[in-house]
């Protein structure tokens, strides 16, 4: 029998039954819940008179549209000025109470972005199936869990049945061989992959990320990579379990302990693709060739290395691609042939489920230590991914580095990644952002987003335009 991929193994272990047409019922170990995509699911349960199948398999926390200033947060729900947002957060609280769903409320010190909180609490474990009404659920694959985003109807389906109807995806391996150069990070790896395969390159596949460069990343870095699997079209990204994974989880509040920990870790160590496993598609990258990446357009695949230039649509032969580039450059207010380093910036946003963990903040702080944000930057902000990340950063003095450099130090939440709260990028302004999507209007109506790593965002904050972080004196 041919070997199995990591995806095959987790799929097989969770298969409740399958139908003739290939549709399968898959058992779900964990559902993460937030305020935006859950109210209609709870309402559906209520209307049908149904109860959650296993309430304790869920974990909820509000993140998308909560305020991030300390003043607003200290006022509790009253601090949410927008009444529509306030009702949504209140509705989550009420639903969790009514249906007995575990919740970390807005002002619990462990609250944060669901995809930061799950792994941090040990609610994400290797070999689990994990879903959430949020496409960036792929993040949790960094710990060897099969995790993907679902719609609200499926949130309700999982609440009611603990199962999901699925068709099995194909297997893709993205292998990044060799070692990254200094100043090049997990974010640059994943942007380079998306640049290579396109935003639909992984559609219909689960992507396993492997190779020496991935193995060398911390769990936080692996989360950055898996987070953006969805921007390559793949609902789920995966990284095989190794000692890095297991060390990360040890002692986390909801991770198993004692004898159960020993049994669990013995099992988790088998969560790797077999040497003779067959992948439907294999993509190879050489880590040494990857430079810091910057997106210039309105899709994550519109990306260039820091040494590069904005492409000229006139040189594009394919009519559809040419029109995409033209539309993007018009929206972004950029001219063909401009050097990436000449893109001037107005805003800097360091945060989001892609890059708001302690390692990301350390990376940005190394660049910003003892420096000042350029006068031309109107607002630069750091939004930690969770209350615990914020506490850790403060214990290390990172908050002081940011504040002294002229950045705002905020409370945890999704913030300007999708701008559902008051943190919005104004029309026409360019933002160096550590988030995951540069779609039109994503960070605010008419806003112009450039996706970069935390180090590159920090470097851009100091310079007022993009610069190669590897050329800054602080960067070793």
């Amino acid at each position: 029998m041919a070997g199995r991929t990591l995806y095959d193994k987790i799929w097989d272990a969770h298969l409740v039954n399958s139908r003739d047409d290939g549709t399968a019922l898959i058992y779900i170990d964990r559902q993460l819940i937030h305020e935006v995509t859950s109210p209609q699911a709870f309402e559906g349960l209520r209307l049908a008179g149904r109860l959650p199948w296993r309430a304790d398999a869920n974990l909820a926390t509000p993140d998308h549209n909560i305020p991030t200033t300390s003043d607003e947060r200290s006022q509790g729900l009253e601090g949410i000025k927008d009444p529509v947002s306030r009702i949504q957060v209140q509705t989550l609280d009420k639903n969790c109470e009514e249906f007995n769903i575990p919740e970390l409320g807005m002002n619990d010190r462990r609250q944060g972005i669901v995809h930061v909180v799950g792994p941090e609490q040990g609610a994400t474990l290797p070999g689990m199936t994990i879903v959430c009404g949020d496409s960036h659920t792929s993040t949790h694959g960094a710990l060897g869990a099969l995790a993907h985003g679902i719609g609200t109807s499926e949130v309700e389906h999982v609440l009611a049945t603990q199962c999901l109807l699925q068709k099995k995806m194909k297997n893709m391996l993205d292998r990044v061989d060799g070692q990254l150069g200094p100043g090049v990070t997990a974010k640059d790896i994943v942007l380079a992959i998306i640049g290579k395969i396109g935003t639909a390159g992984g559609t219909g596949h689960t992507i396993e990320f492997g190779g020496e460069a991935i193995r060398s990343l911390s769990v936080e870095g692996r989360m950055t990579v898996c987070n953006m699997a969805i921007e390559a079209g793949a609902r789920a990204g995966l990284v095989a379990v190794d000692e890095t994974t297991i060390d990360y989880l040890k002692g986390r509040p909801f991770a198993p302990q004692g004898e159960l920990w020993e049994q669990a870790t013995a099992d988790w160590r088998t969560l790797v693709s077999d040497a003779d496993a067959a992948f439907d598609r294999i993509i190879e990258l050489d880590a040494k060739q990857i430079e810091p990446q910057v997106t210039w357009g309105t899709s994550p695949e519109m990306v260039a290395p820091i040494s590069g230039h904005i492409p000229d649509p006139a040189l594009e032969n394919d009519a559809s691609r040419r029109s995409n580039i033209e539309q993007a450059l018009e929206y972004m207010g950029l001219k063909p042939g401009t050097a990436i380093q000449d893109i001037q910036l107005d805003y800097v946003f360091i945060g989001s489920c892609t890059n708001s963990r302690i390692e990301d903040l350390r990376e940005a702080s190394r660049v910003l230590r003892g420096k000042r944000v350029a006068d031309t930057i109107e607002l630069a902000m750091v939004v930690p991914g969770s209350g615990l990340v914020k506490e850790q950063a403060e214990a290390e003095g990172l908050d002081q580095i940011f504040i002294e450099a002229g950045l705002e130090w905020r409370e945890p939440g999704c913030s300007m990644c999708l701008a559902m709260n008051a943190d919005q990028l104004p029309a026409g302004k360019h933002c160096a952002s550590t988030s995951n999507r540069n779609f039109e209007g994503r960070q605010g109506f008419g806003g112009r987003t450039h996706l970069v790593s935390p180090a590159m965002a920090a470097a851009a904050a100091i310079s007022g335009h993009f610069v190669d972080v590897r050329q800054l004196e602080n960067w070793v």
Binding site: V16, Q40, S85, S153, E154, L165, R235, W261, S299
Partner: protein
């Protein structure tokens, strides 16, 4: 769930690739706790010239005359024609809710993003994948003929053009059955509750660490 069997309607050509879910329904409208009422804000940032808010009176907002939904010949269309990777981006089911609320019943494109594709079926919307060249030809025919409409026949899995050309398409058997019968999928799955319980009991024995308590204590 809403049933779908056949649909005859005017085709609305949205000539763009990678139409993302922020394009379909911008984030500020996701604050609603309802499933309905998103139709007036479908494609909001392109359909109107100003920025819309959940409490805006949409009837008073300036329309973008260049946007396809605002052109008289496509009013009341129910079939959307688009390019590759339609529905990429977030998992928000508000995107199919907005399309449905506006009156779209069918979306035709060379490819769709996985989560959006799946979400359509949960809401009685039919996404149809057609070859890229066929889609290009449909764009040309729609452009050339005002009032161009298609007949979509789900049981037969065919489209019929105004010149009576039949174009076949494919749908998964289970999804087709759900659409044709308007099935409550949760109800269908719960018919297998005993099988799920048996699986769960075996799994709890095999991997008890996934069943540990995650109820947060005081912080």
């Amino acid at each position: 769930m809403k049933k779908f069997t056949t649909e005859q309607g005017v085709v609305i050509p949205l000539d763009r690739a990678n139409v993302d879910t922020d394009f379909i329904i911008p984030k500020q409208f996701l604050k609603s706790i309802k499933r309905t009422g998103f139709g007036p804000n479908l494609f909001d940032e392109h359909r109107y010239l100003d920025k819309g808010e959940p409490d805006s009176d949409n009837s008073q907002r300036p329309l973008n005359p260049d946007f396809v939904l605002n052109q008289p010949r496509y009013q009341h269309g129910s079939i959307l024609l688009a390019r590759e990777n339609f529905g990429c981006g977030s998992s928000r089911e508000h995107a199919p809710w907005a399309l449905d609320d506006y009156g779209i019943r069918v979306i035709i494109a060379p490819s769709f993003a996985d989560i959006f594709f799946n979400n359509c079926f949960k809401n009685g919307l039919l996404p149809i994948v057609l070859n890229k060249d066929v889609v290009s030809r449909l764009f040309a025919e729609v452009e050339a003929n005002e009032g161009y409409s298609l007949v979509v026949d789900l049981p037969a899995e065919t489209l019929t053009t105004p010149s009576n050309e039949l174009i076949p398409f494919e749908v998964d058997a289970y999804r087709k059955q759900c659409l044709l019968n308007g099935l409550d999928e949760i109800g269908v799955t719960l018919q297998e509750a005993d099988t799920i319980r048996e699986f769960e009991s075996r799994w709890r024995q095999r991997a008890p660490w996934y069943f540990s308590n995650v109820r947060p204590g005081d912080s």
